[in-house]
Each structure stands twice: as structure tokens, then as C-alpha cells.
Symmetry: none
Subunit: 228 residues, 2 copies
DNA sequence: CTTTCTGATAACATGGTTGTGATGATGAGA
DNA sequence: TCTCATCATCACAACCATGTTATCAGAAAG
């Protein structure tokens, strides 16, 4: 998975690239509109994160030219809070979503996932495992050992989220952003309930203890189930 | 572990805070020199990440005033590549290290760990240790030797506070400001009670004597068991 | 069209966590 | 030794986070 980041602030560019790389993306960066267009035109990226205010070619123009060439690479715009008209123009021109500066890393990633999911890019990685639990994304199937788990869509995504963050604490907000989408209208309690459902199904195959509650913080899926 | 980030670029500030929070730090942020100094002066942080170019009070000035008050909180400077003379002045004034913009997240974190290690705050893998007591911030876990301690959120934060100030006296007010927040509505006595809780759990693993009372002053966590 | 399944919420149960006030110990200084 | 301030300890009450169940609307399946 490869992302192009076009942003004239060198510090911000560097750090946004790092963030994506931390998520397992390969990244390219451009500090000017012209360099950005050069990269974009290659059509080798799965996502473009694009600042609107750029030296050289405008971000808006890049989107227009991309769509004119009928390259429908997903584009997420970065924009200042007060540049509403540019934003609207950008979305009209065919951008998929936007994030206003200053943005939280979690939001950028959430929108990224949302866009990629909408475009059908995501969800075809290799198998995910954690202890005896195994997930096969290509067929959306889950197993404990060899026994199949009959998971609903949400349960599956929840488990996927946990396996992606094996042995790491995940807060309920993170889970919610990731599984329900940060702009979802559902309540946070849904997370609890689905953790419960998931636990029950895991427990029925003897893997219930893998999903631990860290009270006051969140949940953690532990690969090898150990002490308390 | 609590870090103060002072940076006038709102986007960068937001994102740097996110990065630290991802590593298990609590963060505070300031966009101006004056706000930065206000926070810094509270002396509740374990690290300050400080942009040199700031509106209001200069970053350089903040370092100077900090050291003048003999607060030796570790400071990492953020600086443009070409501002060499400022940088030198900053280090002279008592900053511990610097990172030039644009910087990689990994570099910032590496230097953070290096600085904190040099100051004796953390151990090798970002762990906090004091004698047999060990804290793993990334998973919020605490151990005495290999035995896990089952700590509540407050107990954990309290222990973290002590380990950050190993072999140093911490007053109850400092503890309170740091763990409860200076604007908390709770009473100061809560500190005593939680020290007690913590002691009991430490004692159950034979590490009860590490947390000493300095009558009339505060408490002190001693790394290597007692001399007197 | 009916039945079944899924997603979501509300309501309630429960137990852990937090903070307070009372009381008992302990040390420091007079 | 006495007294006072400080700290330790305990028990309890209030609160909050989470677990659990029941229920309902809507989608999907039959």
C-alpha cells in the first residue's frame, strides 16, 4: 500500500509520512504542487494526501487534472479551517474526503481507512494471527485452531482491530473510530457490547481469556495468554 | 510520564502530542512562549519539547528561566536547520538535546529515550525501573521482579510519578498536581491513602520498603534498597 | 410476506475504584 | 514526658466503568 503526501511544510510532511509508514504504508513526499503532480501522474499510489495551499501548482488543480485523466486514486485534502470555499471546490473536483488542520493523527488514519474501505482497496492483506486465533481477510473468516468462528461483520472487524494491535492497549475510542468510523452516530457503549459478543464466541472455543480488559483504559488482545 | 510540547505550528503541535501519547505519555501543549512558560513553571513534566522560534516569550528564554529556577527538567529543542547560533545558545542555556526540523518521529523518540535514559528516568526499552520494581508504560503494566502488580489507574500513575523521581523527594503537592491535576476537587489526603494502597501491593511482593516517608516533606522512592 | 439475523440502544446488575472522615500510631520539639 | 503535627490505617459511601440481558428496528434471507 503506497501513499503520496503533498505538503509544503517540511516538518509536517516528514511527520505525516512517518505516521503512514508506522501503519505499514510505503510513502512518497512532495513539497510543491509541481512535484506533487509529477508523482500523482505516475498513478502508482493507493492514496494521495494533498495540502490545498501549495507553492507552484495548486492542490485543487492537481485533483482536477487527476480526474480529467480519469485516474480515480483516492484523495484526502488537508486544509486550514477557514478555507471553506477551497474545500468545497476540492470536493467538487473529486476529492474523497478532507481533514482540517490541525488534525489528530487518529483522525487522519480513520479517514484514510474509511476512504480506502469505500473504494474497496482495503481488507485484502495476509492472515492475521494471535495465539490460537486466526483471521483470513480474503474470505473474512476467523478460526480458533481449526474450528471456525461464525462472526458477524462487526464482530469480525472488531477482532481484526484487536489482532492488528496484538499485545497493545486499544482504547474504546480507538476501537470505535476504527470499527464504527469516527463519524458514526452510534454510542460508545456498542463497543462494550460487541466485546462481550466476541468474547462469548471466543470463549466457546476456549480462547476467551485472550481479550483482556484494562480497566479505565481500554482492552488488550494478548497473543499468548499468560498470568492474570 | 508527562511531556510538555511547546510549538507554535498548530498542526505540528497536535501531531507531536499524538505521537507521544501513542507511546504512553501524558501530554500538555502550548502554542506560545508565554503559555509554555506557564506550564513549564508548574514543574510537573518529565520532559519539555520546545520550539525555539515562538511568539511571545522565546524558547531560549524559557530554558534560561527554567535553569535559573534550578528546575532541571530535560529539554529537547526543536529548531530550523539554519538557526545554528540559537541552537548553540539553547544548549548553553541548559537544553539537553535538539532535533532539527524537519525531523522524523523515530528520531524525536530516540532522542527522547536517550535524554531520559541519561537522566536516569527510564531504562533500556523505555521501561521505568527502581530496584526490583518495573513499569512498562506501553502496556501500563507494573512488576516486582517477574510478579505482576495489579494496579488501578491512580495507583499506576502514582507509582509512575515516583519512578520518574527515583531517589528524589516528592512533596505531596507535587504528587497531587501531577496525578490528580492541580485543578482537581479531591483533597490532599487522597495522596496518603493511595501511598498506602500502593505500599500494600508493593509489600505483598516484598518491595514495600522502597517507598519511604520523609516526615514533614513528602515521600521518596529509593531505587536500591535502603541505606539510612 | 414472513422469518431470521444483525446492529444498536437502553436498562439494569455488579463489582471495582476513588475519596473522605474518623481514629490510631509515630515522631519532633518543647 | 507531654503535646502537637504529621502520617498510617481502616471502613464506608458514592460513583463510575464495565458486563449482561432484553428489546427493537431494519436488513437480509427464505
Amino acid at each position: 500500500m503506497r501513499v503520496l503526501v503533498v505538503e509544503d511544510d517540511a516538518s509536517l510532511l516528514r511527520i505525516v509520512r512517518d505516521v503512514f509508514e508506522g501503519e505499514g504504508f510505503a510513502t512518497d513526499g512532495a513539497e510543491t504542487g509541481d512535484a506533487g503532480w509529477y508523482w500523482a501522474e505516475q498513478a502508482v499510489h493507493d492514496l494521495i494526501v494533498l495540502d490545498l495551499m501549495l507553492p507552484g501548482m495548486n492542490g485543487l488543480e492537481i485533483v482536477r487534472k487527476l480526474r480529467a485523466k480519469s485516474l480515480d486514486i483516492p484523495v484526502i485534502l488537508l486544509t486550514a479551517k477557514d478555507a471553506v470555499e477551497d474545500l468545497v471546490a476540492g470536493l467538487d473536483a473529486g476529492a474523497d474526503d478532507y481533514v482540517t488542520k490541525p488534525f489528530a493523527v487518529s483522525e487522519l488514519l480513520a479517514r484514510t481507512r474509511a476512504v480506502l474501505r469505500r473504494k474497496g482497496t482495503i481488507g485484502q492483506e495476509g492472515e492475521l494471527t494471535g495465539g490460537p486465533v486466526r483471521l483470513v481477510p480474503s474470505v473474512r473468516a476467523a478460526f480458533v485452531g481449526d474450528a471456525p468462528l461464525n462472526l458477524t461483520v462487526k464482530e469480525y472487524e472488531l477482532l481484526e482491530c484487536f489482532l492488528c494491535n496484538k499485545d497493545r492497549i486499544v482504547t474504546r475510542d480507538q476501537i470505535f473510530d476504527r470499527v464504527w468510523g469516527f463519524d458514526s452516530s452510534s454510542g460508545l457503549t456498542a463497543v462494550d457490547v460487541y466485546v462481550h459478543h466476541l468474547r462469548k464466541k471466543l470463549a466457546s472455543q476456549g480462547a476467551g481469556s485472550a481479550l483482556r480488559t484494562i480497566r479505565g483504559v481500554g482492552y488488550m488482545f494478548t497473543g499468548d495468554s499468560d498470568v492474570r
